[in-house]
């Protein structure tokens, strides 16, 4: 799905040219022919390991455009599911990084095993595991069933120990350190100038997280830290992701305590017709800032639906990251950028 045309001098990378678009389905064009609610299903298929945050970014843009209020309980459910998704997505990123380091299959399966538990929770929430379509403009699809809460509690209790285990395998592993420390360094100035967001930006030492900078839903009512890296190398990018998983668990714990009873969806028209105008809504997805820019002409379908996908824009720095490194480093540095092709190609 992704091709990297690389020019080598012996073993050293001189130049890279990413070739992509193999998964281009024209999501932005398709959205122009669907109603505002139907587009939710298209967003699942962007970053397909992180459908919840895609949903959230899109419905936030619609709510901003149409001025729809969201009930409190729905906000908490959104945050809980998004943070679960963040853990699942970071598990995949970490698992595949190890895979690319040559730790073939086994560590990846450890990550997939834990991700599976999260997907089971999603199945309880909405019946789907990957393409969830859980959120709607104005709330969420349905309330969590009774047995969701004990299952969530169990996961939140078990997860820290699992993350410990995972870290025990990687964080001070001599091979991992030798191959990732000081490899593929990205500076903060470069990252900001090239519109890099998410863990890639935070690894360079910039404390920027939309959940803090522009708190949406209930992120301003929970306590959490924004982990940052020291120098922006491959190791920092890994470390930021692992620490973010812990913070996500902290957020979920607090949300479970705070969640009120009540409606989960405000009443909206069957066909949402936002007033003529435009709106940009964004969230901090596991990959970075995922934004939707919607233009309405007053009709039942978006006139224009632009997706600002973090994976795509983070690829801008690929050449700067890879040039000058050896062939063996190339695959690890590339793996640490954590791109998802569904989102790159849209």
């Amino acid at each position: 799905m992704f091709r990297l045309r690389v020019t080598f001098d012996g073993e050293v990378v001189l130049d890279v040219e990413p070739v992509f678009g193999y998964l281009h389905r024209g999501t932005e064009k398709l959205a122009e022919e669907r109603t505002y609610v139907q587009v939710v299903t298209l967003t699942d298929r962007l970053d397909y390991v992180s459908a919840m945050t895609n949903n959230l970014a899109y419905v936030r843009a619609v709510e901003k455009l149409a001025g729809i209020e969201v009930p409190e309980r729905a906000k908490y459910l959104r945050v809980i599911s998004s943070e679960l998704q963040r853990i699942a997505s970071h598990l995949i990123a970490t698992g595949f990084l190890l895979q690319e380091l040559g730790a073939f299959a086994t560590p990846l399966m450890y990550c997939f095993r834990e991700r599976e538990r999260i997907l089971e929770l999603f199945e309880m929430l909405c019946g789907a595991r990957i393409t969830v379509s859980y959120m709607r403009p104005g709330g969420v699809l349905q309330d969590a069933p009774e047995d969701f809460w004990p299952a969530l509690d169990e996961l939140v209790k078990a997860m820290p120990q699992y993350i410990e285990e995972l870290e025990g395998l990687i964080t001070s592993n001599e091979i991992v350190l030798a191959r990732t420390k000081d490899v593929g360094v990205l500076t903060a100035e470069k990252a900001i100038n090239a519109s890099v967001t998410g863990p890639m930006l935070r690894a360079t030492g910039v404390q920027w997280d939309l959940r803090k900078a522009d708190p949406h839903e209930v992120y301003d009512r929970v306590e959490f830290d924004v982990p940052i890296g020291a120098i922006g190398d491959t190791y920092d990018r890994y470390l930021v992701r692992v620490q973010e998983m812990r913070q996500s668990l902290r957020i979920i714990e607090q949300c479970v305590k705070q969640i009120p009873k009540g409606d989960i969806r405000s009443r909206t028209a069957y066909f949402i017709r936002p007033p003529v105008g435009d709106a940009y809504g964004a969230v901090e997805s596991p990959k970075g800032e995922l934004g939707f820019y919607l233009v309405s002409d007053g009709g039942i379908a978006p006139y224009r639906c632009k997706i600002r996908s973090p994976s795509f824009i983070n690829l801008t720095v690929l050449r700067d990251l890879l040039a000058g490194w050896k062939m063996a480093d190339l695959i690890i540095i590339f793996g640490s950028t954590d791109i998802v092709l569904g989102e790159v190609d849209r």
Binding site: G291, Y293, R304
Partner: protein, 147 residues
């Protein structure tokens, strides 16, 4: 909480330095002429108060009688966003100057706009299609595209 700077304020600041560059403004957006876009973008990037260090997104919207380019900018130090827009006329192959020399982040995004909307960016180091293949007929995100 991030603040969206009022378009009227931003327009006033631009016009203080380059008089007449900001054509129109409202509560959220500023419009500039396509020829002035690069100048305005450079000013927004360099100015200490506005400090738009990050280019969030470049969007092209096809309104049939014109194209509109929307630049979402962000200052992380001041935690605010700025939206500037420009209108392009002509459907054949409208062109505008690239902002890749100001923000590297424009690189892939401008190529995407060229690929899907058919707006050429002059001064871009590598103005090629990015998602579709070279030789693809037309630009699919245009409203009048028929396959």
């Amino acid at each position: 909480m991030a603040k969206a700077l009022a378009g009227t304020d931003v327009a006033r600041r631009i016009n203080e330095t380059f008089s007449g560059v900001a054509l129109e403004s409202n509560k959220t957006d500023v419009w500039v002429a396509p020829d002035d876009l690069h100048r305005a973008a450079k000013f927004l990037h360099d100015d200490k108060e506005l400090d738009c260090a990050m280019l969030l997104a470049i969007t092209a919207v096809d309104y049939v009688e014109r194209f509109e380019l929307v630049y979402h900018l962000r200052s992380m130090r001041k935690n605010h966003t700025v939206v500037i827009k420009t209108r392009l006329s002509g459907r054949e192959e409208p062109a505008i100057s690239s902002v890749t020399d100001i923000w590297q982040g424009a690189d892939l995004q401008e190529r995407e706009v060229w690929d899907l909307m058919g707006i050429r960016f002059e001064g871009h180091p590598n103005m090629k299609r990015v998602l579709l293949w070279e030789g693809f007929p037309g630009h699919p995100l245009r409203r009048d595209f028929v396959r």
